[in-house]
């Protein structure tokens, strides 16, 4: 009989508990106190309540840095997981504030609560090393996100996209569960460290390879890596913009972190080698294949897109390819990966924000709807410039440094084994500039359509977008701010 210390659990899971309590409060307040309040005010109050909750959780983590390990890996809190959770919460705050001017629903209580609950799921996902908790947390986050994707009350595509998201999520959850069961069966444990100890390496049992692949399929779905990305363009295009932004940013950050953890902690000795002529099965060749496919598919498909959100979706697939290189970079790659995923999160969130503003104003988010944005909204145009150039990897923005550090880590760790993949990645990032400039061309060069009524844009989303752009610039100029703490042993 193992004694349980409930206080211990509460102490370690305090940030999650705070957010969960916040979600319940939001629901309760919405039902009891705000029934009669006018929608705009109600929305504002609920969003601020949600943001304050996330802020409180961050503050808690900063003030009481409790580290520890609850019940052999059920909950493992380290400085790095705290930072990743902080990133998830910061992205949640921005997503919430981004919704301040949106009108896709009237059920703001449910919306905010679900967003917070999915953040809870992502936080548990980040800080657990137990297969069971990882699975449940993943499902918690996913279920909330499915619902969030369907929140658009008068757009039929929204429900369709959510359904596709749901179906693919469930199929990949099925695959992942199958893989987890094999992993459990082969090692006799559900704790990642015990699994690593039981499995050893470096030679890969075929059944273990199946387990590895199916688990990677499940997580590959979450990170939208090709060929498991098919849902992403539809969801990014049709879900309410803030939901899509959250799916593209926070969910991706947490999923990448957990994929890296499952592979590097749980299958520590099974890297294998992905060099032509010197092939050793393992997760490096697996990820290399996914990365190459994502890079090619994402970048090439983005070239022909006419819808900006769909374009961002394909570019997100391509970026999943870059980030996979970070996992292959091993220990040195992890900080690079987290840095990249975080800055990418801010960038893509901001880009979705701009797209959502354009959509509210012009009525669509096709490329042509961005025409002349620089003359209507110079600040938003400038922010979009920052986001696009950062995604394309132009210094001194965060996207450049993130890529550089990822590539360097992957090359160094693999002692040039992955050179071919790095070459592909750099080449594809050169190609990507083409479609990012396509967006900028619309914004800066093409004259705006005449007869567009001037309307003030809500200040809350505007502030969020400018904040995101600032973050991208500052973290690009001074990457050490974030990297130093991420790489701290």
């Amino acid at each position: 009989m193992i004694p349980v210390n409930y206080l211990d659990l509460l102490r370690l899971a305090a940030p999650e508990t705070v957010v969960l309590a916040g979600a319940l409060v939001v629901l309760g307040v919405d039902l009891l106190a705000l029934r009669e309040v006018e929608t705009g005010l109600r929305r504002l109050l609920l969003l601020i309540l949600g943001a304050v909750t996330c802020g409180a959780a961050i503050a808690w983590m900063a003030a009481f840095p409790n580290l520890g390990n609850f019940m052999q890996g059920m909950l493992v809190v380290t400085p790095l997981t705290q930072w990743v959770k902080g990133g998830v919460l910061a992205l949640a705050i921005l997503t919430l504030l981004l919704s301040g001017g949106a009108s896709f629903t009237n059920h703001w209580g449910e919306y905010v609560a679900l967003l917070l609950l999915s953040a809870v799921g992502l936080m548990f996902l980040v800080s657990s090393e137990s297969l069971l908790v990882i699975f449940i947390a993943l499902e918690l986050a996913s279920l909330s996100l499915y619902i969030l994707a369907a929140f658009h009350h008068d757009a039929p595509e929204s429900a369709e996209a959510a359904l596709k998201y749901f179906l693919f999520g469930s199929v990949s959850a099925g695959f992942m569960l199958f893989g987890l069961s094999l992993l459990y069966g082969l090692s006799g444990s559900i704790d990642l460290r015990e699994i690593a100890a039981a499995l050893g390496g470096p030679f890969l049992d075929p059944l273990l390879a199946v387990a590895m692949v199916t688990v990677a399929v499940g997580l590959g779905f979450k990170i939208a890596a090709a060929p498991f990305h098919l849902w992403a363009p539809d969801v990014y295009q049709a879900a309410p913009p803030p939901s899509a932004a959250f799916i593209a940013s926070a969910s991706k950050l947490a999923s990448f972190f957990v994929l890296a953890k499952v592979l590097s902690v749980g299958m520590g000795g099974l890297e294998g080698r992905a060099v032509f002529g010197d092939y050793l099965p393992g997760w490096v060749p697996l990820l290399a294949a996914l990365a190459a496919a994502s890079l090619l598919w994402g970048n090439l498909a983005a070239i022909v897109q006419t819808n900006v959100r769909r374009l961002i979706a394909y570019s997100a697939i391509a970026h999943a390819g870059y980030m996979l290189l970070g996992i292959m970079g091993g220990k040195a790659g992890l900080p690079a990966l987290v840095y990249y995923a975080m800055t990418y999160g801010f960038t893509t969130l901001g880009a979705f924000g701009v797209a959502s503003l354009v959509r509210d104003r012009v009525g669509g988010d096709n490329l042509s709807d961005f025409a002349g944005l620089s003359r209507r909204e110079p600040w938003m145009a400038f922010c979009m410039l920052v986001f696009m150039l950062s995604l394309a990897g132009i210094p001194p923005l965060a996207g450049f440094f993130g890529k550089f550090y990822l590539f360097a880590a992957a090359l160094k760790t693999s002692s040039l084994d992955l050179l071919w993949l790095v070459i592909l990645a750099i080449g594809m990032s050169a190609v990507s500039l083409y479609y990012y400039l396509q967006v900028l061309k619309q914004i800066y060069v093409v004259p705006p359509p005449s007869g567009l009524a001037a309307a003030p844009i809500p200040s809350l989303p505007k502030t969020v977008i400018i904040l995101a752009a600032l973050t991208v610039i500052v973290l690009g100029c001074a990457p050490n701010l974030l990297l130093r703490v991420l790489a701290a042993p």
Binding site: F168, M212, T214, V217, P396, F400, A430, L433, V445, R484
Partner: protein, 623 residues
């Protein structure tokens, strides 16, 4: 090292100006202009002060801050101060300052003048960043920033679709070169574990073979960056299009400084390049020099002629680097910065006077109406043509001498040929633009430009004339061959030094200039339409040797020109524009069709592809 704060100030003043203008003074044009000019002129004064206080010595100095330190990955943000960077800093701030002042006159009345000066300041900052960088990563960051500011400035008149497209083309083409560059940087880092130039030089100095088998590859990858930025074949296509930007921008960015950054970078990392890489570099440079000189002959747009001429001279410099001669390369880079900036500014003056007419066959007779412009332009032309005792002669001679001394006679002959062609097309330009009566209405009413535009011309003309005898090569030699350097020669000794030191190249150089001038004189002194395309030439005033030159031209030049033009056009259309810039109709069509087959929106198709993906990945991992 005294006054260590100065280099930092010089670097960051333009950035402060750019930021301040963007944030606060976009509406106040006068203040914006003043801030921008003030920043760069102050930078120049401080540079002079700094060099005066700290005499140039071969020992490099570094000022650095820790920028990044993550495990074994250490990068500094630092300034490397040695003769190379200090001289280049003087050149950049000096030329930029002159061009800033000129722009004030040239851009007067443009609505976006504040934006223009903000971009110009941003450019100056980035260029200084390249010059002063002490490590590869920092160099690359500023390298890209220079690309961004060039993109913004080429597309400055974004209402013109051609300008916007040219900006995009320049940006993307440069990105292709940078693809190789960053890969080269990563290779060097993976092999040697550092990005700092000083550390790398030490490591390679201690062990020549430290890079192992990757040496040639790394060298060529890094050279890719220079191919893009310095517009060498086959990535040369963006530079002529970049002439869509305002003329002072062409002078500063696409003639004097930014495009020279590639050459500068090659000299900066000269220690990394091994003989194999250098050989290829030399040939690419020589080839670029020749084809672009040939192309320049048949251009009618005054700025495009100068653009091709720039390409050709850049090829010259790259060839010099490839011939193990960073000293002559940097020497020529410096003098070229003077006279090519002068020529562009002179062209700008002409263009303004002719109400934005750029076709040389619609000009004429401007020599009388614009005397200052004419005489300074002539000085620039003579310098570019390599006429003794102007600056171009000395630097060009240094390159030819390098080729001659290394017994690289093929490239030597190529260099002489290019020198001949250079004189030819430049005097063609001079004759057509400044002599004969005006051929079109605007040129008839042309008047001299305002003083704010003329003083920069005078300053640059002075530099172009004396640039060869102010010991520039001596100081560069301090950097590259500190062992072989003697005392600086007096300016009179420098005047005759080439003839004493290496008479054969000097004689060939002068002869080439003379021959080129003679051809131009015969063909264009009295021409009102270009006689070359007509092929027969004006029979009425036929003279035997005229025919002789004409036929020679037909037999060799035109055919070679046609051939090369076909190749270059093919490269432009298919390699660069086709596959990358425009994505061609075919490519996008293909992708679109493939995508339509896959992303049908149909769940079943998605599910099937998902399963197929799983099966494939399983197969791949199980091997």
């Amino acid at each position: 090292m005294k006054l260590e704060i100065l280099p930092w100030l010089i670097l960051f003043l333009p950035l402060v100006a750019a930021g301040w203008i963007t944030l606060f003074t976009l509406r106040n044009q006068k203040l914006s202009v003043g801030l921008s000019i003030g920043a760069v002129v102050t930078g120049f004064v401080l540079s002079v002060l700094f060099v005066a206080v700290n005499p140039l010595t071969p020992a490099p100095q570094e000022l650095s801050l820790n920028w990044l330190s993550i495990g074994e990955f250490q990068v500094q943000f630092g300034l490397r101060l040695d003769p190379l960077s200090l001289l280049m800093m003087l050149v950049v701030t000096g030329v930029a300052g002159v061009i800033h002042i000129y722009s004030w006159g040239y851009m007067r009345g443009d609505r976006g003048i504040s934006r223009y000066f903000a971009c110009l300041s941003l450019f100056t900052f980035s260029m200084l960043g390249i010059v002063l960088a002490n490590n590869f990563l920092q160099l690359f960051i500023f390298w890209e920033l220079v690309g961004v500011s060039s993109y913004l400035l080429i597309g400055f008149w974004y209402e013109k679709p051609a300008a916007a497209d040219a900006g995009k083309k320049a940006f993307i083409t440069n990105r292709l070169g940078d693809f190789g560059f960053i890969l080269g940087i990563l290779t060097v880092w993976a092999a040697l574990g550092s990005l700092n130039f000083g550390v790398l030089a030490e490591k390679l100095g201690a062990n020549r073979e430290a890079l192992g088998g990757a040496a040639t590859l790394a060298g060529l990858l890094i050279f890719c960056g220079a191919v893009g930025k310095s517009a060498q074949f086959p990535l040369h296509v963006w530079l002529p299009d970049a002439m869509e930007g305002p003329t002072p921008v062409s002078a500063l960015i696409h003639a004097a400084t930014m495009v020279a950054a590639g050459v500068y970078m090659l000299c900066r990392v000269f220690f990394l390049l091994n003989a194999g890489a250098l050989e290829i570099i030399a040939w690419i440079g020589g080839f670029t020099a020749l084809i672009s000189a040939l192309m320049a002959i048949q251009q009618n747009d005054i700025k495009r002629i100068l653009a091709y001429s720039t390409l050709s001279q850049l090829g010259y410099m790259v060839m010099a680097v490839g011939l193990h001669g960073p000293t002559p390369a940097m020497f020529h880079l410096t003098t070229h910065a003077f006279f090519k900036a002068l020529l562009f500014l002179g062209a700008g003056s002409v263009i303004i006077a002719c109400h934005h007419e750029q076709d040389i066959w619609k000009m004429g007779g401007l020599g009388r109406k614009m005397p200052v412009t004419f005489w300074t332009f002539l000085a620039g032309t003579l310098a570019l043509a390599g006429v003794w005792p102007l600056s171009g002669f000395f630097s060009k001679d240094a390159i030819l001498a390098e080729a001659f001394e290394r017994h690289h006679y093929a490239l030597f002959a190529l260099g002489v040929m290019v020198a001949l062609l250079t004189t030819f097309y430049m005097f063609r330009l001079v004759f057509v633009v400044f002599f004969r009566p005006a051929r079109a209405e605007p040129a008839g009413h042309a008047v001299e430009s305002p003083q704010v535009m003329l003083w920069p011309l005078r300053i640059l003309a002075t530099l172009s004339i004396v640039g060869g005898v102010i010991s520039l090569d001596h100081y560069y030699r301090l950097q590259f061959e500190p062992a072989a350097v003697g005392a600086a020669l007096s300016w009179t000794a420098q005047l005759t030094h080439p003839f004493a030191h290496a008479p054969v190249p000097a004689a060939f150089g002068l002869a080439a200039a003379l021959a080129g001038f003679a051809c131009a004189w015969l063909l264009y002194r009295r021409a009102d339409v270009d006689p070359l395309p007509a092929r027969l030439g004006p029979v009425a005033r036929a003279m035997r040797d005229r025919f002789y030159f004409d036929e020679l031209y037909q037999a060799t030049v035109i055919r070679a020109h046609d051939f090369i033009a076909t190749i270059a056009d093919w490269a432009d259309r298919w390699l660069i524009a086709g596959l990358v810039v425009r994505g061609t109709h075919g490519t996008t069509e293909l992708i679109g069709r493939a995508l339509r087959l896959v992303q049908t929106g149909n769940l079943q198709t998605y599910a099937f592809l998902f399963a197929l993906g799983v099966a494939f990945v399983l197969w791949w991992v199980l091997g």
